[in-house]
Point group: D2
Chain length 329, copies 4
């Protein structure tokens, strides 16, 4: 059994805690949070609780830690855990600063540390199925990948300045998936827009964005993001290849469809809750992490995957802010 400590006790920590409890290879031993009451709320019987993350990181009954705290703490916890000989599963992104993230990677590599990035969508059953069917040759050569992700609601305005911007905060998931499906990315072109809340523009961020990526393979990836979607959490993928296509469609809470005077065969709202939509992915992510540790096989997605996705997000951010509008005509 792998003993796990969870650092942080927010919403996502609760999802991880459930995943750890359901996994047959893992045992939840610690939860830490600055406000200890929140840690108590998630910890069940037999789980130690502390307001000091380092107490858990150093504890002998901890083999691996899951980092769910705010981004600026990630590097410090990663390095502490690696130095303590513990494996790490860290929520994305590594850091908002690409240089810091790269230095973190160097030190982890020097130390031979084991760090997995929490790009949980790589473990989503639908996304995994598409990846596996592509690998099995079902659609021939992958030529064009389209990733659509639209949040149900924009984040609180006060979060925007802390977020690192739409590319590092939101698109980074699709940038990682683009790398997962397309391999090496050679170039990226990104465009931002302000369509939801004018105050986001004043804060120097976008609330919509599109990016086009050219892969070394010759394939092109297209990513479409929007910070607001009235019909739910829009999460779709289309992988188009020489022999066909594989698509992930949106998911719903039930399989009920309705017909009335004006509409027919209508589904309900799209599943918007993270734990509902990607609950299976969170479970599979912890299971994958535990299985790799158990077998001694490499963790995936790795810390390097986290750095590469961040590099794409950084390039997109710079470009979207600096490229002047080529006024036509």
């Amino acid at each position: 059994m792998i003993n796990i400590a969870i650092i942080g006790a927010g919403k996502i920590a609760a999802v991880h805690a459930d995943a750890v409890r359901r996994c047959k290879l893992t045992n939840l031993t610690w939860i830490t949070n600055r406000t200890i009451e929140k840690a108590h709320a998630i910890a069940g019987p037999g789980v130690k609780v502390s307001s000091d993350a380092y107490a858990a990181i150093k504890a002998p009954d901890v083999d691996a830690i899951i980092i769910t705290t705010i981004t600026e703490t990630h590097v410090a916890y990663i390095l502490a855990a690696v130095h303590a000989g513990k494996a790490v599963l860290c929520e994305k992104p590594v850091d908002l600063d690409l240089d810091r993230a790269r230095k973190c990677l160097e030190r982890v590599e020097d130390f031979g540390g084991q760090v997995q990035m929490g790009f949980n969508r790589r473990y989503d059953p639908s996304i995994l199925e598409i990846h596996e069917r592509i690998s099995a040759g079902e659609i021939g050569t992958l030529e064009q990948l389209t990733l659509i992700s639209r949040d149900e609601f924009p984040p609180p305005l006060e979060y925007v300045p802390l977020s690192g911007g739409i590319f590092k905060d939101m698109m980074i998931h699709e940038l990682d998936l683009a790398r997962f499906f397309l391999g090496l990315i050679e170039s990226i072109h990104a465009v931002g827009q302000n369509v939801v809340d004018p105050r986001v523009k004043e804060l120097g961020d976008f609330d919509g964005a599109v990016a086009v990526l050219r892969a070394k393979s010759g394939a092109i990836g297209t990513i479409i993001n929007d910070r607001r979607c009235v019909y739910g959490w829009d999460q779709r993928i289309e992988a188009f290849g020489s022999l066909g296509s594989l698509s992930m469609t949106n998911q719903h809470a039930t399989s009920v469809v309705s017909s009335g005077t004006n509409t027919t065969s209508a589904h309900g709202r799209v599943t918007s809750n993270n734990a509902q939509r990607y609950g299976a992915a969170f479970e599979a992510q912890v299971a994958g992490f535990a299985r790799a540790l158990d077998k001694g096989s490499p963790l995936s997605p790795s810390l390097q995957d986290g750095v590469e996705a961040l590099a794409l997000a950084e390039a997109a951010t710079i470009q979207a802010h600096n490229t002047p509008a080529t006024v036509l005509g």
Copy 2:
């Protein structure tokens, strides 16, 4: 070229006239209607018009007639045409009286006449495709056939006493399709209901009905009818077999789907217009009629098919009206 006369000049006659004009083997030469103005409204340049159906039936520039008048006139026109050596395409049903219909069939057979029944759905591209794919073995042995047909609006109340009842007027289409897919029917059980307009009940008819048919093959057919459907003209089929299923889904005027706050991926209303939904079937029906006449091959569906469907409708009518409710418990 096969010269065609159309008897009657109502809505369905106009649809047939278009089909005759588009068919490369046919030539529209006559349209007759008691009220001659209506015939003029449909006839284009070069088409003769008369208030006397028999003038067209006997005319030397007529090879075949299409009968679109009210049901009670069908038998007389069929026999007159057959005696005049003309082929016939007759709208359903043959007659409301099963005995008259059977006698008509006898006389047509004695005379060696050629009569096709206007069960146009056998020529619908979707229905034909299902029939052909079943014949090609795609779903193995056909085990269960489900036919759903729901009219958008109930017929005018004054039509109800003339209609022959829901089984002879409406379900007869599905009874014919049941025979088309299942072959010989051994037994039928029918249930009627009054859910739309209580005055229909006072007139001794139903406005909803379900029938279960047992085929000699061992397959079971289920037919569901309703006289009112708020989302359009509900026309669906499911053929279920040992190796899979083939279904005809509803059709829409465009391929637009919408998502909003409460519903996602919603189609618009179902196509309700006969000429729109079954326009291709009407064209293919005339083309099939002309091709068979041209090649001397048998017409299908035949007058006998019309009599057999009527016999099923008669059996259903008697049963639904006479079987007392087996009050349970």
Copy 3:
């Protein structure tokens, strides 16, 4: 906390055990099974295990029992539990013999016992949603209900003689749902067929069936069953009313669709596993059972619902076997 004992340790018992563990109002205290090893396999730490069901039924740390054993044992366990003052959640059917089931109901009522029947589909999120939206008036008056249930694989041949026949074993779920949606049923007409395995016919059972039910409300219900379905476990509902329709479509393991040379927008196989398809229903059923016990509100579906569904199944069985084929024509 409500202490629960599970009688029986088969597949369905394991599903119930998970549901009991996830429910916040219940505590799993006992599992019994004639072969005690199977009970051990399901019981976690702290759960008592016995080969004697009555030991659990009488135990002071048991408030309620869940009966998952073979049908012929249900009545005895129900009565023992009720006499011991314990609430019961019993898998369907009550018994294969309608008289025994009715007598059981009488004795339970005399004793004031609390018995819920395991018609778990009433708790399925999709089915519940349809029921609630109908109750809220979304489709006006319910006119026609269509229930399709097709098993992926036929049961083992040796089970057929013990099953009570397709109507009591398989259709009983849809008969209960018909009552759930339509209320009082006035009449039923059932037709059986043998399409999957000729040996089932030799054993005096059917492997396909269709039933038509007339409700007191004027609505008609249609049930379609087949013992084999190559594309998975076909579980669909269509509720059609004066203002629209609500349908439950089939469910799939992922939301991936594919397009290739011959097919487009194709989903994968339909979810076939009971725990996957109705896992949420099993959880909600135990939660509903516990909540009702906690609040002292009536259990639903009740033992009487179990007897009524059995009465419909009995009527269908007799009719399908005895009604001669009305050979037409």
Copy 4:
């Protein structure tokens, strides 16, 4: 009645001829083609035929001409027709050379000529419906538009050097639609790829492309093109706005779906034939042209629309060929 001459007698000319025949405001009087036999093949009775386009352009029984010949002839025929006082419906593009196209527009404007461009998709019932529902406010502010167009088969290799490249030949349809939906385009970024046939690369063209357009409104348009699609002619649109989305899904020849061992609810191939997929659009385009001429209202899309779309295609071409791959990392 508006008398129409069709210049050219290829496939698209035949589609236009059908549209002219079905339109109640138009009369087909001439068809011209260098190889006169081809003109004879399309012309029905009463239609004059010539190998000289100018004969038709000058003929007194011609009010308007439809130009369907190869691109390099468009400007000359447009100017000749305008000088002869005839209205024009010209197939896209105006010309491959943007300067020539602009000069043509100047001269037509100087002369007060009436020229409509054959961007027939603006008349497609599905596309029109989306445009109208957006205008009616159904999805609030249009934020993101995605246009996917993938040809079934790549064009013949010998056509590639004459085509003007993928942006002027293929994407020009989506560039026009982007203008139709988004209004003024401020900037465009385009990426090309070679994934289908390496010989296309040798000829200096691409066989896949993605473009991102920024509209003055703040909306972003994304266009995805591929020259080969095994499942048919992929023609889709998604318009996403602040209150919902409207999408055009692919269309199929029938509404049959199938389920088998591995796939469920599978549609057949996507409609690939131009006359089938956009037949209604071709009819509506001629009807719109005729109606505008009849009422004296402006033609739409106009020659200027043709020039603007060409300008976007030119900008995309230059950019996709000249922007070096920003090699990352």
